[in-house]
């Protein structure tokens, strides 16, 4: 169970409003004609902020034992990182350009 430090429901209403605002900001940024890298970077940063808020507050990770966080989150990020860096090899194999 989450610990007794958990805030009341009104706090989560505030979190909900913040997340809707972030989603709205993403839409606004889409039509600002930003340079490609800036646009993609900004959207990804906002997505990670929003996802982090969802995990820490909606999913109560913040109020669970730190053991749970340190067991699950770093290893999941590591696996995702490895996927991102190994996947290009899969594409290279698909095109049969093994040594390029």
């Amino acid at each position: 169970m989450a610990s007794e430090r958990e805030p009341g429901f009104k706090f989560y209403v505030g979190i909900w409003i913040v997340m809707i605002c972030i989603a709205g900001l993403e839409v606004i940024l889409t039509y600002q004609h930003l340079p490609g890298r800036t646009f993609v970077g900004a959207l990804l940063i906002l997505a990670f902020v929003e996802g982090g808020i969802a995990i820490m507050y909606f999913m109560h990770m913040k109020y669970e034992s730190p053991n749970l966080f340190w067991t699950l989150v770093p290893i999941t990020i590591f696996v995702l990182f490895m996927l991102d860096h190994i996947w290009p090899d899969a594409l290279r194999l698909a095109r049969m350009n093994m040594f390029r």
Binding site: M1, V13, A23, Y31, L46, A54, V79, L80, L83
Partner: protein
């Protein structure tokens, strides 16, 4: 004798290092593995997109982006109503918990209907898994329908899971911990959409 055995077993049992029930830990492990699944498809989609010279940008502000934003608000709201259900369950208010779970299921169903409506609209325009009516890369359809289809499957599964748990909770077969554990899955569905919305919709908006 039996009391002695019980005492021995209790002494041998070690408390969970995570301070949570095993079913909740199992749900967290499932969520971690499912996050990797979604990560894999999103990475694959991103590499396909970067490697394509003729990528299509089919989503106009109206109706596509507006529809996707409304879907985002609905899913975020459903997470809030799910939290309200968990709060009610912890407070021992079964009727209120079931009512909030019902609202959550309704919002999930509306999300699925809006999604399917968008899909059928795209089918009418000529989009398909390997079809691109704009003449660009056909990988767009595979990526879009693959990722959103996987997410939609999770939403529909979540609605069914919520219904099953709500029925069990109503009958007394399941307790507040089952409600809380199921809520984790529902929040995860919301979490995944936080990445699908910008990567699949906004980055493909016609600007």
């Amino acid at each position: 004798m039996s009391e002695t055995h019980a005492g021995t077993h209790a002494a041998l049992m070690e408390a969970s290092p995570f301070g949570i029930q095993s079913k909740k830990l199992a749900m967290w492990l499932f969520i971690a593995s499912d996050a990797v699944t979604f990560g894999a498809v999103l990475f694959g989609y991103s590499f396909l997109r970067v490697g394509s010279l003729d990528w299509s940008y089919p989503f106009k502000f109206s109706p596509s982006i507006i529809n996707a934003f409304i879907m985002t608000v609905i899913l975020l709201t459903s997470s809030l109503t799910m939290l309200a259900g968990v709060f009610a369950a912890k407070a021992g208010n079964k009727a209120r918990c079931l009512a909030w779970m019902g609202v959550t299921m309704l919002l999930g169903a509306i999300f699925a209907i809006l999604h399917l409506r968008e899909w059928f609209h795209m089918f009418d325009e000529g989009w398909g898994l390997f079809k691109n009516p704009l003449g660009g890369s056909a990988d767009f359809g595979a990526g879009f329908f693959g990722i959103t289809g996987l997410h939609l499957t999770h939403v529909v599964s979540g609605v069914i899971a919520l219904a099953v748990v709500a029925l069990g909770y109503n009958s007394g077969r399941l307790d507040k911990n089952h409600v809380e554990t199921t809520s984790l899955y529902w929040h995860f569905v919301d979490f995944v959409w936080m990445f699908v919305f910008p990567i699949v919709y906004l980055m493909n908006a016609a600007r």
